[in-house]
């Protein structure tokens, strides 16, 4: 145990030789969240409406202002503009009040053909026009009684940040792990490990523990940033630590594996980086995996981040989605699998002497 403690201390001392790398690895995900949170989609869209003298035009504006969440934000910010022939459409679309086939019509003229934006603008106009229709129908109008899951709509940035925490833990551990492991080969210090009488379990264990703790720190920094910017904190920091530790451990294994295989810093870094971002996007980064297409959900089941997000979810939303046990078991199994793969690779690449 004493030897292990010495090895661990030595691992942490390596921090002093690569301070900038550690600082970037630890803080860059929090910076990424801070910058991205400001450009995330918000439910309120500016929608330009051409000024018209018709009272129906005024009714439409009033209806547009009413479209929104009763427990959240409005969905439309109507902006009245003057319209003229040949006008360039600003802001993606322009609604003009016209008569078509002897019927009053809100013509939505698009300046873009991005299907997602068209969908968003179309749905909002339909919702406003439906409000007018419902008013004219009186008691014949169908009422939708909403039963949302949570008492208020939670801003997207909370979910986005929560799902980014496993990325932070994974990325920091993976990049630093790749860098340190590959450097051992480039600086030939791997020979010392090769000649060392200390068991490979202790050497690898100390390295992985230190990488996992570094990744965990990065994840916790992000947790603090999310808490400060959104005011939402997890109900149990202890569970967060455990979950992120597992993800960071896997990240540390991936980085170490990349370093052992490539034995050069740049390709090892490249592989660690690519895998970290892939597992993030595929691991429920933009919404719970079950809410997307079948192929996405199927692939996401192979990503540790998916299970980490499922376990973090009740800590942030205080509601469960199914049982937590399968996610705990799979994440634990993934950790053990990656540790085993790292030990085997270490043995093959470092201890087996090739003639």
């Amino acid at each position: 145990m004493k030897r292990f403690t010495l090895l661990l201390k030595n691992e942490f001392k390596l921090f002093r030789t690569t301070i900038p790398v550690h600082l970037i690895g630890i803080f860059q995900p929090a910076l990424m969240f801070s910058l991205m949170a400001l450009v995330l989609v918000t439910p309120t869209f500016d929608m330009q409406v051409a000024r018209s003298g018709d009272p129906l035009g005024d009714d439409l504006i009033r209806a547009m202002e009413q479209v929104g969440s009763p427990i959240g934000q409005p969905y439309i910010n109507p902006i009245l503009v003057e319209s003229f022939p040949g006008q360039e459409i600003q802001g993606g679309q322009l609604i003009e009040f016209i008569w078509q086939a002897e019927r009053p019509t809100a013509l939505q003229r698009f300046g873009l053909i991005d299907s997602n934006m068209v969908k968003n603008f179309r749905n909002r106009l339909t919702a406003a026009a439906l409000l007018l229709w419902n008013e004219s129908l009186g008691d014949k109008a169908v009422v939708i009684e909403e039963a949302p899951w949570l008492p208020r709509d939670i801003p997207y940035s909370v979910y986005f940040g929560m799902a980014m925490m496993p990325l932070a833990a994974n990325l920091a551990a993976s990049l630093i792990g790749a860098y340190l492991s590959a450097q051992e080969f480039e600086f030939k210090t791997i020979i010392e490990y090769r000649l060392s009488p200390v068991s490979m379990y202790q050497v690898t264990g100390a390295r992985l523990l230190r990488l996992a703790l570094t990744g965990l720190l990065s994840g916790l920094v992000l947790m603090v940033v999310i808490g400060i910017t959104t005011g939402i904190w997890p109900v149990s920091a202890g569970w967060v630590v455990l979950i992120l530790f597992c993800v960071a451990l896997i990240g540390g294994c991936i980085g170490t594996l990349a370093g052992l295989y490539f034995q050069k810093v740049l390709p090892a870094f490249l592989v660690g980086l690519a895998l970290s971002f892939f597992t993030w996007i595929m691991g429920s980064a933009f919404g719970l995996a079950a809410g997307f297409s079948g192929p996405y959900e199927a692939v996401s089941r192979f990503m540790p981040n998916t299970y980490a997000v499922e376990l973090l979810f009740p800590l942030y939303y205080q509601v469960n989605i199914g049982s937590r046990l399968p996610a705990i078991l799979i994440l634990t199994f993934a950790c053990l699998l990656f540790i085993l793969a790292t030990l085997i690779t270490y043995w093959r690449k470092v201890l087996v002497v090739r003639k």
Binding site: D59, R109, N116, A129, S136, F269
Partner: protein, 371 residues
């Protein structure tokens, strides 16, 4: 000229020793593109359970509306509706196997016919306000269609649409072009690091400092080679996009090379500073690569920004990618000359010249400082 050629050939050999890094512009963007294609390329309909308890016929008409109302996004219905009884639906909802439940009550038809405030219940997840918003505004599309189907009195205001082009572009092609630009940038950045790594390992930077001739002879071949490989990476991506999604710039490929090349030169200028300073070599590499990826996300990599430029944050405009991305989409997706071509070109030239000038000047000064 012969000297440049000799240096050029010598640098070229670096790639043979480290082909993975040479293709640094391929691997991360490929993973990102595959992930986004799986995320947004499939059917994006919301999975909902429909519990139709209606004893009349109109509940069935409403149920059919779920399959008939088509979203422009991926040309599929807004909802992937599954018929369930109430218990099954609640169980699936609690396990998040469905995103919502629509309950059509037993007296639905009667209340619609008699005009006695017909009502439906809609359960839905609102763990993020964007998805909650979609549930609410998709339901308007369903009701609009339902009213038309059952012959309700005409709406006071009809709705109609007009598009600038007869085609619609989905999310994945929009993102794919962003990824192609990222590929050019990352390809250039990784190659600058690959081309300066030899100097770091063998401490040759001292020899550069003692060189009697201008350091431009050393730096220019690296810049040119990194740029070429960045462009090769991006072009390979364009071929993938063509084969996979069916978009190719055609004769406008020169425009793509020019705009993305100028963008890459900006990143090369930043990368070369850290690339030839041994103390911060790897930290610089990690910082610049991660910054380029962040800029992909905040600088229009995931969506068109020209039509909501006001939502783009000021710091995003500090990077050329944000200025270049939509004109590049014009070239690749729509095969049209960007209306803001001249302005974009001028801005990108400005970014590239400033970055290269300061990058190379700083690098040369640090290399010449022999203490």
């Amino acid at each position: 000229m012969k000297r440049v050629w000799v240096l050029f050939k010598s640098e070229f050999k670096v790639w043979r020793h480290d082909p993975i890094t040479a293709f640094g512009g391929i691997l991360p963007p490929a993973f990102i593109l595959i992930a986004f294609a799986l995320l947004f390329g499939g059917r994006l309909s919301f999975k909902v359970a429909v519990v139709n308890l209606d004893q009349g016929t109109l509940g069935g008409v409403l149920r059919q509306s779920f399959d008939q109302v088509i979203s422009p996004l991926s040309n599929a219905p807004y909802y992937l509706a599954q018929d369930m009884n109430l218990n099954e639906a609640m169980g699936a909802y609690e396990r998040y196997q469905v995103e919502g439940i629509w309950v059509i009550p037993p007296d639905f038809t009667d209340s619609v016919v008699s005009g006695e405030k017909p009502a439906l219940e809609m359960y839905f997840f609102n763990y993020n306000d964007d998805r909650a918003k979609n549930h609410r505004i998709y339901s308007a599309e369903i009701l609009w269609h339902f009213y038309k189907q059952i012959g309700y009195p005409e709406p006071p205001l009809e709705i109609a649409e007009q598009y600038p082009l007869p085609v619609m572009v989905d999310w994945v092609p929009v993102i794919a072009v962003g990824v192609a630009l990222l590929s050019v940038c990352l390809g250039s950045i990784f190659n600058i690091y690959a081309l300066t790594y030899k100097e770091q390992i063998s401490h040759m930077t001292l020899e550069f400092g003692l060189a009697p001739r201008s350091l431009a002879w050393v730096l220019i071949p690296k810049v040119v080679l990194a740029l070429i490989f960045g462009l090769v990476s991006g072009s390979l991506f364009l071929i993938v996009i063509d084969l996979w999604i069916g978009f190719w710039p055609g004769d406008y490929i020169w425009g793509f090379w020019l705009l993305s090349g100028l963008t890459a030169l900006f990143w090369i200028g930043l990368a070369i500073v850290a690339g030839l300073r041994s103390r911060n070599y790897m930290a610089g590499a990690i910082a610049i690569v991660l910054t380029a990826i962040i800029v992909f996300f905040i600088g229009g990599g995931l969506g068109l920004i020209r039509y909501h430029a006001e939502d783009v944050q000021w710091y995003s405009w500090l990077f050329p990618n944000t200025h270049a991305i939509d004109p590049i989409r014009d070239l690749v997706l729509f095969n049209t000359w960007p209306v803001d071509w001249n302005a974009t070109l001028a801005k990108l030239i400005g970014f590239a010249v400033l970055s290269l000038f300061f990058g190379m000047t700083l690098t040369a000064r640090w290399l010449r400082r022999l203490d």
